[in-house]
Amino acid sequence: MKILVCISNVPDTTTKIRLAEGNASIDTTGIQWVINPWDELSLTRALELRDDPASGVKTVTVAHVGPASSEPTIRKALAIGADDAIRVNAESPDAWYVATQLAEVLKKEQFDIIMCGIESSDYNGSVVGGMVAELAGIPSVSAVSSLSIEGGIPLITREIDGGKEILTVGAPLLAVVQKGIAKEPRIAAMRGIMMARTKPIKVYEPVPAEPLTEIVALEKPAPRSACKMVDASEPAKLIDLLRDEAKVI
């Protein structure tokens, strides 16, 4: 079996977001770019499966739609342990465009399991994974919190409101993963970093696609009003404020 992990390249999660001139994008000066946290977890799970001979998973490939400047993030995924990588050489103007490119990759190469994250921490769309599956005409399962392979068949836990379902779906399938898929992200060891330099990154040119959505403006959240402090000697006052002033209890 072959697994493809789709990774997006996002600002480090502690970044203080500042807007660029014109307020339609963010100011990227000084930003550290990292693998989207979910994608780091799906990569980790994919590698755990590959490293377990019983799973039948032989290789883990990562795919990314992005310009050459995002190669350090791809190299990081290779250093963590992915076998090889694919980069589609394009910016990612919207989910539709990105999904179209990834679906095109699936036409060129066969994978049994494709993993996407529940959301990218910049766009927060939760859209790309499902679109890729529909474009490729394969089943998708969303909110996947565990994935194992039993006797060649993927066994999945799906989170539902107030519980979980254990289910099977025949491969090829696309899993949109969330919390639980792996415990801690695997980190790159020195050996991995050395080896990553020689692992192949295949570059595809994009196919034409028309973005369907566009961010025309960004705003910072309205500053919250100053915090009203209640003295620790009278906590009951807090309850009065919540009832009489905020009117939430």
Partner: protein, 322 residues
């Protein structure tokens, strides 16, 4: 032309979030001069379906087929896309919950529609169709233009007030055709949490962090949640340590919630934690460190020892609830 709402049901019942969706759709249809159709998939009885009209559905379609008893993304997409086409829907609205996130992007491809995910207000503009949504994990909001003819919106939970309009609606029951070979998901087992208020449904959430010091200290925190009729939550290190179950973890890599009231106890307020709770209407912080960043996100705060303050809050709540 119409606005179509996918109304998920839970064992035949709708939830508050369903009525939020319909209220939103009703307001949007007003802006667009069109009407609201609600689509329910699976068994729901007449009385339950009629509730949708209370919030503004003018037509209610209940689609049934035994093969649709659990969510199969492809089969459900097929049903919703079919109804969207026959209803000539210009906007399709789903919840931004697990099912909505699973279905919206597949529908988008089927209908060649752009998606506005996690929308929290009515469109800022109809032409071009511009929605307002969370981005950068709550550190910014985006004005997103959707350029396609058909538009799909997933509505952020707890972002729109319920409005009763008491419309009357015709209920249409349809037996949809589903090709058995097209259903690819086989659910083997369902594990449901019972009894407790679900974190994703709760209007009030009481949440504990590492400042709670030990899993044995959660008693007064759960009592406070119970007294308030709320749910319990926690920060990531707390669930990583196994002090609390994983379902309770909120934040960037956990659940994203937007209750009316979020009480953070012994939580420092890291950006990754705030990413999951910043859309809450009110945030209360209880922390022994007056400089903890959580106080910058909160509207009410107490500087002090959680173990001393929590029991007093429980007493105070019980007092006013009498």
């Amino acid at each position: 032309m119409s606005v179509l709402v996918y109304t998920e049901n839970w064992d035949g019942k709708f939830k508050k979030l369903t009525f939020e969706l319909i209220s939103y759709a009703h307001a949007l249809a007003g802006m667009m001069n069109t009407s609201v159709t609600a689509l329910s998939i699976g068994k729901t009885d007449e009385e339950e379906l009629k509730q949708l009209a209370r919030y503004g559905a003018q037509k209610i379609i209940s689609a049934e087929n035994e093969l649709l008893s659990s969510l199969d993304n492809q089969a459900y997409t097929g049903v919703i896309a079919g109804i969207a086409q026959s209803e000539n829907a210009e906007v399709i609205i789903l919840s931004n919950n697990n099912a909505g996130k699973a279905l919206a992007p597949r529908l988008a491809v089927r209908l060649k529609a752009g998606v506005g995910p996690g929308v929290s207000r009515l469109p800022l503009n109809l032409s071009p169709f511009t929605v307002y949504r969370r981005a950068y994990s709550g550190n910014a909001f985006a004005h997103l233009v959707i350029r396609s003819d058909v538009k799909i919106i997933t509505l952020a939970q707890n972002s729109f007030e319920l409005t009763e309009v008491n419309a009357t609606a015709a209920i249409e029951r349809v037996n949809v055709a589903v090709d058995p070979s097209s259903v690819k998901t086989t659910v083997k087992e369902v594990k449901k949490q019972s009894g407790k208020v679900l974190l994703t449904d709760a209007d009030i959430v009481v949440s504990g962090g590492r400042g709670m010091k030990s899993p044995d200290n959660w008693g007064p925190l759960t009592e406070l949640a119970e007294a308030l009729g709320g749910a319990t939550a926690c920060s990531r290190p707390v669930s990583d340590e196994g002090w609390r179950p994983h379902e309770e973890h909120t934040g960037q890599t956990g659940k994203i919630i937007a209750p009316n009231l979020y009480i953070a106890v012994g939580i420092s307020g890291a950006t990754q934690h705030l990413a999951g709770i910043s859309a809450s209407k009110y945030i209360v912080a209880i922390n022994s460190d007056k400089d903890a960043p959580i106080f910058e996100a909160a509207q009410y705060g107490i500087v002090g020892d959680a173990m001393k303050i929590l029991p007093q809050l429980v007493t105070a709540v019980r007092e006013i609830k009498k």
